[in-house]
C-alpha cells in the first residue's frame, strides 16, 4: 500500500540553525501539507501546497518557514532560524483530489528538537 515517507525521523539542532525536513508524498496525490504537533497537544495546520504553489498557510507559518517541491517526488519544509518553540513533531500529509472531500494520508513524522 502506498504511503507517505518522511526523513529524518528525528532531527536535533541548535537554536538559530536552519533545518530541512523532507517528505515523499504518495505519487498520484496532488495536494501536500505540513502540520506540526507539540507533544501532547493537537495537530496544527502549517501550510498546504498545490500546483507548485502555496494554497494556504496558517499564522504559525511566518517568514522563517518555506516549502518547496524541488523535483517530482520530494516536498520539503525549511525552517531558516530555528527557535526553541519550534520543537515539535512535524507531519507531512498528502491527498488525492479536492482535499476537503478526501482523506489526508499522514507520514510517520519528523521529531524536531531545538536545543
Amino acid at each position: 500500500e502506498p504511503e507517505v515517507t518522511q526523513t529524518p525521523s528525528h532531527q536535533v539542532t541548535q537554536m538559530g540553525q536552519e533545518v530541512i525536513l523532507r517528505c515523499v508524498p504518495i505519487s498520484n496525490h496532488l495536494y501536500f501539507y505540513w502540520y506540526r504537533q507539540i507533544l501532547g497537544q493537537k495537530v496544527e495546520f502549517l501550510v498546504s501546497f498545490y500546483n507548485n504553489e502555496i494554497s494556504e498557510k496558517s499564522e504559525i507559518f511566518d517568514d522563517q518557514f518555506s516549502v518547496e517541491r524541488p523535483d517530482g517526488s520530494n516536498f520539503t519544509l525549511k525552517i531558516r532560524s530555528t527557535k526553541l518553540e519550534d520543537s515539535a513533531m512535524y507531519f507531512c500529509a498528502s491527498s488525492e483530489l479536492r482535499p476537503s472531500y478526501n482523506e489526508q494520508f499522514f507520514g510517520p513524522g519528523t521529531r524536531l528538537t531545538v536545543l
Binding site: Y35, E44, S48, S55, R98, S100, Y101
Partner: protein, 113 residues
C-alpha cells in the same frame, strides 16, 4: 478563527465498556473527518461525514454528524485494548474548496483489562 473542541480530553475505560467522544465546531462545517493517532504514531484517517444528520458505522465504531453540521460524535462499543489512542475530529476551514483541516483538541482513550 474556527475552533474545534472535543470532550472529554481524556477517558480511561475497562475493556468491554463503551466510549464516546464529542466534537463541537464554532462554525458550520461542510464535512467532518475523524482520525486516530496511536501513542507515538501519526494520524490515520477513519471516516468522513458529509450530510447533515449522517450516521456511519465501522464495526464497533459509530460516527454521527449533527443536524446543524457543527458537531459530531464517535462512539465505540465494547472497547478493546487495540482502541487505545487519541481520536481527533477535523474539519475544513470554511467552504468545500478550503484546503486546510482544523483538528479538534482530541480525546485520549486508555483501555485497561
Amino acid at each position: 478563527g474556527q475552533q474545534v473542541m472535543q470532550i472529554p480530553q481524556y477517558q480511561h475505560v475497562q475493556e468491554g465498556e463503551d466510549f464516546t467522544t464529542y466534537c463541537n465546531s464554532s462554525t458550520t462545517l461542510s464535512n467532518i473527518q475523524w482520525y486516530k493517532q496511536r501513542p507515538g504514531g501519526h494520524p490515520v484517517f477513519l471516516i468522513q461525514l458529509v450530510k447533515s444528520g449522517e450516521v456511519k458505522k465501522q464495526k464497533r465504531l459509530t460516527f454521527q454528524f449533527g443536524e446543524a453540521k457543527k458537531n459530531s460524535s464517535l462512539h465505540i462499543t465494547a472497547t478493546q485494548t487495540t482502541d487505545v489512542g487519541t481520536y481527533f475530529c477535523a474539519g475544513p476551514k470554511g467552504g468545500g474548496t478550503a484546503s486546510k483541516l482544523t483538528f479538534g483538541t482530541g480525546t485520549r482513550l486508555q483501555v485497561t483489562l
